[in-house]
């Protein structure tokens, strides 16, 4: 079945094209096309997975373009990582397709929504099958396009427009880093293929300096796409998109693409200590940084968005600490529980028609399915034992302790505390306490609950693929058996557990039982509170530095263009004009003067010819 892997992305592409052409006619039936297409993708992806479990890597390439003697190819590569991602993406995508049928019902551009979802799924599946950097870059950008279109789906809202534009531009900044890194690698190794690049790294064709430079440049691309500090600002704004989109793109799949890219290029990163340190540091800083902002957000989706940024930081930290498996493991569990949280949040928004958590409360009874499912997600992300997040987070902490700098380990622990705190702050505010005038709040239709149920099961079950107790199936398979469990001290598990319960307890004190005043923090250090509410002023800093700098240069150039360049042209024209009027003064009407000038000219030419022999070049 692996040789059919290239068909997997084609189903959603077909759905995109069909819906673009006929969607307006099919209206609400468009959903079935999208759901069927992604379901076929999922089935085929599962078949490929089964095939790959027992087999080895399959690769196929086709010519894309020849440049002189070089042939650039596109193709598929069914490595363990790629096949794994294929299944995760297809699965989450299918669930979101199903969920959207209920969530988006009644929207005028319903079919467009499904078309865009198809485009995005196609791009994401294509990305995770890439055997070379060029193809990865192509789909990388297409994934960005899908995200852009869906963020801007409510096109008539100025916020959506701004958010879509910002998402595209911020990720593009990262992409240019990717682009440059890719080009540098090409001229060092004369190939875009991962295998050739790894071979060049292995046999020393690639100098250490160039390895570090290329690895960091490509990592800039990952920073942009995965919303890492300092290019993270687009991700919270991306919540302007419809909520299923937030679940699919801005939580489960696309933002994990950066992590996937670094993982796919892992041998390149491993060869450079500096690059690994960069990845780990950025990851660790992002994890704690985003978690602190998440503490004070009042928009349900933004809390989740910052938590996504923070969790992606965790994955980067794992990669930087050399634990490829932990990163992919956390990527998988995160995809499930974060998608669950977003879909549950969507269900809440669907019920109460607001995104502000201050206006919610007491929804536990009104949403009998959503509430427990949300709780499962929250427990999982908080790293409560026996839930999926517990195992993957524990793996990352162990890796950070054994390979990473100590500081990063403690940052990660602190971030874990904050994570469980803000997640349960969210939970208590939304579901506990008094109901606040939501008399008509009701549970979502079955088409929305069913995908959440599946994700709920996965949010628990997916953790058992890789546990210290039952063995590391995932790790051994991903690394072809070379994986061995990190011999981390046992107290790390204890610390992680204590930390997650501490966060929950604190949240319960403040928001559940209300034994502690809510403004405990803001009353004591108001400026910290303000700092967090304004997202550390990052957006303002960008506005005041980069944006205004570019705008000033642009203004300056506009003046240069209008006055200097145009002025020079005018000057040239003026000189010609002046020469013409000077020349016409010479026309004095005296035939004898003309004759004299003619003779003089002839004399000069004769002299020149006599001296040079006729040729002067």
């Amino acid at each position: 079945m692996m040789n059919l892997a290239w068909v997997v992305p084609l189903f959603p592409l077909g759905s995109f094209i069909l819906l673009l052409l006929f969607g307006r006619r099919w209206k609400q039936a468009s959903a079935y096309v999208g759901i069927a297409a992604t379901f076929l993708s999922l089935l085929l992806a599962l078949a490929v997975l089964v095939d790959r479990l027992g087999g080895s890597t399959y690769e196929a390439n086709w010519t894309w373009m020849t440049i002189g003697g070089v042939t650039l190819t596109v193709g598929i590569s069914a490595t363990a990582l790629n096949v794994w991602m294929l299944v995760v993406v297809a699965l989450v995508s299918w669930l979101v397709h199903v969920y959207s049928q209920g969530y988006m019902a009644g929207d005028e551009r319903f079919s467009t929504f499904y078309a865009y979802l198809g485009l995005f799924t196609f791009a994401m599946l294509g990305l995770v099958l890439s055997p070379n950097l060029l193809q990865a870059y192509i789909f990388w950008e297409l994934v960005g396009l899908g995200s852009f279109l869906l963020i801007g789906f409510y096109f008539y809202k100025e916020e959506a427009k701004a958010a879509a534009k910002k998402a595209f531009i911020m990720t593009r900044i990262g992409d240019v880093g990717f682009f440059i890194g890719m080009m540098l690698l090409f001229w060092q190794t004369h190939s875009f293929d991962y295998d050739d690049i790894f071979r060049a790294v292995g046999d020393g064709t690639l100098s250490p300096g160039m390895t570090t430079l290329a690895a960091i440049l490509i990592f800039i691309g990952a920073i942009g796409k995965s919303g890492q500090f300092p290019l993270h600002t687009w991700l919270p704004d991306a919540m302007e998109g419809p909520t299923p989109v937030s679940a699919l793109i801005h939580a489960a799949t696309m933002v994990a693409a950066g992590v996937y890219l670094v993982a796919a290029l892992f041998p390149l990163y491993e060869a450079s200590h500096a690059a690994m340190m960069t990845v780990a540091t950025i990851g660790g800083v992002t994890a704690i940084f985003a978690a602190t902002i998440g503490l004070v957000q009042t928009d349900i989706k933004r809390v989740l968005a910052y938590s996504t940024v923070s969790q992606l930081g965790y994955m980067m930290l794992a990669l930087g600490a050399g634990s490829y498996v932990a990163a992919i493991f956390h990527l998988t569990t995160h995809a499930f529980f974060k998608a669950l949280l977003f879909l549950a949040a969507g269900s809440v928004i669907h019920a109460v028609r607001t995104q502000n958590i201050e206006e919610m409360g007491g929804l536990w009874r009104r949403l009998p399915w959503t509430a427990p499912l949300f709780l499962i997600g929250a427990l999982s992300i908080s790293g409560v034992p026996l839930f999926a997040g517990f195992f993957s987070k524990d793996e990352i902490l162990a890796a950070a302790w054994t390979n990473g700098p100590r500081l990063l380990f403690w940052l990660a622990v602190a971030a874990a505390l904050l994570t469980s705190f803000y997640m349960f702050r969210l939970f208590f505010l939304v579901f506990a306490g008094k109901a606040r005038h939501h008399e008509d709040a009701h549970e979502a239709p079955a088409s929305m609950v069913a995908p959440m149920l599946v994700l709920g099961v996965l949010s628990i079950a997916s953790g058992y693929m890789q546990t210290p107790w039952f063995g590391s199936f995932l790790g051994e398979w991903l690394t072809d058996g070379a994986y061995r469990h990190e011999a981390a001290p046992g107290w790390i598990v204890v610390v992680a557990t204590i930390v997650s319960f501490a966060g929950i307890f604190l949240a319960w004190l403040m928001y559940g039982a209300q034994k502690m005043p809510r403004d405990w923090l803001s009353a004591r250090v108001p400026y910290v509170d303000e700092l967090l509410r304004r997202h550390y002023y990052i957006d303002d800093i960008y506005r005041l530095t980069v944006v205004s700098l570019v705008s000033w240069i642009s203004r300056l150039l506009a003046y240069v263009d209008r006055f200097l360049v145009e002025g020079l042209a005018r000057l040239a024209a003026g000189i010609v004009g002046a020469a013409a009027s000077a020349g016409s003064r010479g026309q004095n009407g005296q035939a004898q003067t003309y004759g004299a000038v003619t003779v003089a000219g002839l004399a000069i030419l004769v002299v020149i010819f006599a001296l040079t022999g006729g040729y002067w070049l």
């Binding site: 016409s584 003064r585 026309q587 004095n588 009407g589 005296q590 035939a591 004898q592 004759g595 004299a596 003779v599």
Partner: protein, 101 residues
């Protein structure tokens, strides 16, 4: 006699003609000077026809042509001059400047 003597004569004649054509103010004198230049050319034609690398009759023929054309030209030139005199009451070259600027 060598070719160069004829050529020297023609050169002198041509230069006198040129000088006169460019400096004299009376149009009649200018026309006569132009005739001088034409005659210098005729001398060259005949001299080359007799003493040149490929002596032939072509040079003579050209000289005769030139004389005939010069005569016609003189006639036309004088006619133009008379017409000019009728309108301007002058034959001075430097006053014939209505084409300036």
């Amino acid at each position: 006699m060598t070719l160069s003597a004829y050529l020297a004569l023609a050169l002198i004649l041509f230069c006198i003609g040129l000088y006169g054509a460019l400096t004299k103010r009376n149009t009649v004198i200018v026309l006569i000077c132009i005739e001088l230049m034409l005659n210098a050319v005729n001398i060259n034609f005949v001299a080359f026809a007799k003493y040149g690398a490929h002596p032939s009759v072509h040079g003579h023929v050209f000289a005769l042509f030139a004389i005939a054309v010069a005569a016609a030209e003189a006639a036309v030139g004088l006619a133009a001059l008379i017409a000019f005199y009728r309108s301007r009451k002058t034959v001075q070259v430097d006053e014939a400047n209505s084409l300036k600027h």
